[in-house]
């Protein structure tokens, strides 16, 4: 059943080319000087230079911002998955009053745009002293990530037969031990997929991240938007920063690619 026609291959090649073009263009720009970029169309850099990357690595604002972004994203991912795991298990395995409504209500959190929540979060965090910390952003992102995580994980939990729980109980496993030793390995793919989605959302989300921070915990993307107001557009610098923004996502995808492949096949993604 392998299709060996030439036409499908050409079609696929064109599609992939179109998909990769913006990324290529970004890398292309990051390696050229601003004058070169403004001077006209050029398909590849004639005098490639890593200068803008070195500039970013040597500038403490950029490096700090990169660290801040990674920190709140990591905190958020850990919190979301940790909270969502028992919740997903409970939603799937137990019946309680209003369980279905609660499950649906979780998802309704996703129906409002982030901007709706920006003001209340700002006000609240300012009042309790969380403003301009990595925790502010990490916790705010939980509002979106936990429902998604619960929803994805519940799909994976439902794929594990109840008899596994019972077999473990009969074998004498205590509940915590069962959950960690028996159950988590069974939904490892789901956890990988969930962590990936939490990471990605938190990494690309900008509005809450910039609203809830000022200087100490300024995320990477916010530094990017700030860098063009100073002295016109530094195209090359922005492009280099953009390339760096994509790297953590690419690394995460690389690590969880097997989980994701299985996860997409099995669960609720």
């Amino acid at each position: 059943m392998t299709r060996t026609g030439v036409l499908p291959r050409i079609g696929l090649a064109i599609y992939l080319l179109a998909l990769m073009l913006p990324i290529y263009w970004l890398v292309n720009m990051s390696l050229r000087s601003n004058e070169d970029i403004m001077s006209g169309l050029s398909l590849w850099p004639h005098h490639p230079s890593l200068g803008r990357y070195f500039f970013i690595f040597n500038d403490s604002t950029w490096v700090h911002a990169f660290g801040v972004s990674l920190t709140y994203v990591a905190i958020n991912t850990v919190i979301s998955v940790t909270v969502a795991l028992p919740a997903a298990y409970a939603f799937n395995r137990y019946r309680f009053v209003g369980d279905k409504h609660l499950f649906f209500w979780l998802l309704t959190n996703l129906m409002a745009p982030a901007s709706v929540y920006a003001m209340p979060f700002f006000n609240l965090y300012y009042a309790i002293g969380l403003f301009d910390t990595v925790w502010a952003v990490a916790l705010a992102h939980c509002l979106f990530n936990i429902p998604v995580a619960v929803w994805i994980l519940e799909g994976f939990v439902s794929g594990v037969p109840r008899e596994i729980d019972e077999t473990a109980a009969i074998d004498g496993y205590s509940f915590p031990r069962f959950f960690i030793r028996i159950f988590l390995p069974l939904i490892a793919n789901g956890i990988g997929v969930t962590a990936f989605f939490c990471f990605m959302f938190s990494w690309v989300e900008q509005l809450l991240a910039t609203t809830l921070t000022a200087t100490n915990a300024l995320p990477f993307a916010a530094v990017m938007t700030r860098s063009y107001s100073a002295a016109g557009m530094d195209w090359s610098l922005l492009a280099a920063a953009g390339v760096l923004t994509m790297i953590p996502g690419a690394v995460v995808i690389w690590f969880v690619r097997h989980h994701i492949a299985k996860g997409f096949a099995l669960g609720r993604v």
């Binding site: 037969p161 008899e163 596994i164 019972e166 077999t167 109980a169 009969i170 074998d171 004498g172 496993y173 205590s174 031990r177 028996i182 390995p185 069974l186």
Partner: protein, 359 residues
């Protein structure tokens, strides 16, 4: 350890699944729960294990009420019909799992696991993962896990249903022996009457969430206390017909009358329900006291080395068993002889009136 169920009922979603079941199980005994699918065998076992709580009634172990005690704190092993193993653990670790939880030393674990593996022919497979072995081997792994635990109560829920024929025969003999040594209460659920007979011990027949009859397996088989019990304990299905006894004849409706022979001779006049198992009906020579019905062959089903021959008579279709593969053709005229000395006669409430030995 002895286990007692007292007036246990289970209601779920407005439906009663288990009706007022009382049952006493003694240590070192083999107890068969015999019933069709959905009769409540699995539910009853889950109650015994402590996986579920009865809606009403009590579960007693050695006279102590354990109704609400969770399964982790009981000495129970259970094998589910749809075998369960931990997918990412090797067969060895799957079998060792309850022992690891109980923190036994490695040498003892190894000794017990290898012994169980040897009993179940799993030795060459110990390093494999469950998905790398066949369904039957996975079920044997689950049985091995139940063996090594050395629990006081061992529940096997149709454990051999997914195994191939030869292994089934072997394990049917092995399992009671293996567990008899440990002094455990063995409870074995099955839908097959033949399996209950081969296992021996005691049998409780279940129908629609009720225990119809409980007692020594052969006694239940030969002397059903209720027509339902005879139905549950018959494969192929029990042959039944309404009869009316008049003086020394029995009438099957208006169509047919036969002399009241055998067990039918002694019963007082009146309406009854006649029942007989397929193995006391024959197409060969008549019995000394025979009910003989003319009919024609409707169907010959082949079941292993036997054939179930369905005979259509003026008063209904009956099944009889013949040895070997039957070559009878549908439509052939024949006569069916039922051993009148061994038929069951029940009154209108399904209570036995004259008990033949039933075959």
């Amino acid at each position: 350890m002895s286990l007692r169920l007292e007036n246990v009922s289970v209601t779920a979603g407005g439906r009663t699944i288990i009706h007022d079941v009382s049952l006493a199980l003694e240590p070192g005994t083999m107890n068969v729960l015999l019933g069709a699918t959905l009769a409540g065998k699995t539910t009853l076992m889950r109650l015994m294990a402590g996986l579920d709580k009865p809606t009403s009634g009590r579960v007693l172990i050695d006279g102590k009420d354990v109704t609400g005690v969770p399964v982790r704190r009981r000495s129970v092993a259970m094998v589910f019909q749809q075998f369960m193993n931990y997918p990412w653990l090797s067969v060895y670790e799957n079998i060792a799992s309850p022992l690891r939880v109980a923190r036994l030393n490695t040498a003892e674990i190894d000794r017990r696991v290898r012994r169980a593996a040897q009993l179940l022919g799993l030795e060459p497979l110990l390093d494999r993962l469950p998905q790398q072995i066949s369904g039957g081997q996975q079920q044997r792994t689950a049985i091995a896990r139940a063996i090594v635990k050395g629990a006081d109560l061992v529940l096997l829920d149709e454990p051999l249903a997914n195994l191939d024929y030869k292994l089934r025969e072997e394990l049917r003999e092995e399992l009671p022996r293996i567990f008899a040594e440990t002094g455990a209460i063995l409870v074995y659920a099955t839908a097959e009457p033949l399996e209950a007979l081969l296992l021996g011990g005691s049998t409780a027949t279940l129908s629609q969430g009720r225990i119809v009859q409980a007692g020594p397996t052969l006694a239940v088989y030969h002397r059903p206390s209720d027509i339902e019990s005879a139905r549950v304990f018959s494969d192929p299905p029990l042959n039944e017909s309404d009869i009316v006894k008049e003086d020394d004849v029995i009438r099957f409706g208006a169509a047919q009358a036969l002399p009241a022979a055998g067990a039918l001779a002694a019963i007082p006049p009146g309406p009854y329900r006649l029942a007989f198992r397929a193995d006391i009906a024959t197409l060969g020579a008549p019995w000394p006291a025979s009910l003989s019905l003319a009919g024609r062959i409707a169907l010959a089903e082949i079941s292993g080395s036997e054939s179930f021959v369905h005979v259509e008579t003026a008063i209904g279709t009956f099944v009889c068993v013949e040895r070997g593969v039957s070559t009878r053709q549908p439509g052939q005229p024949t006569s069916l002889h039922v051993d009148a000395a061994r038929v069951f006669v029940f009154d209108r409430d399904g209570r036995p009136v004259a008990a033949g030995s039933g075959g």
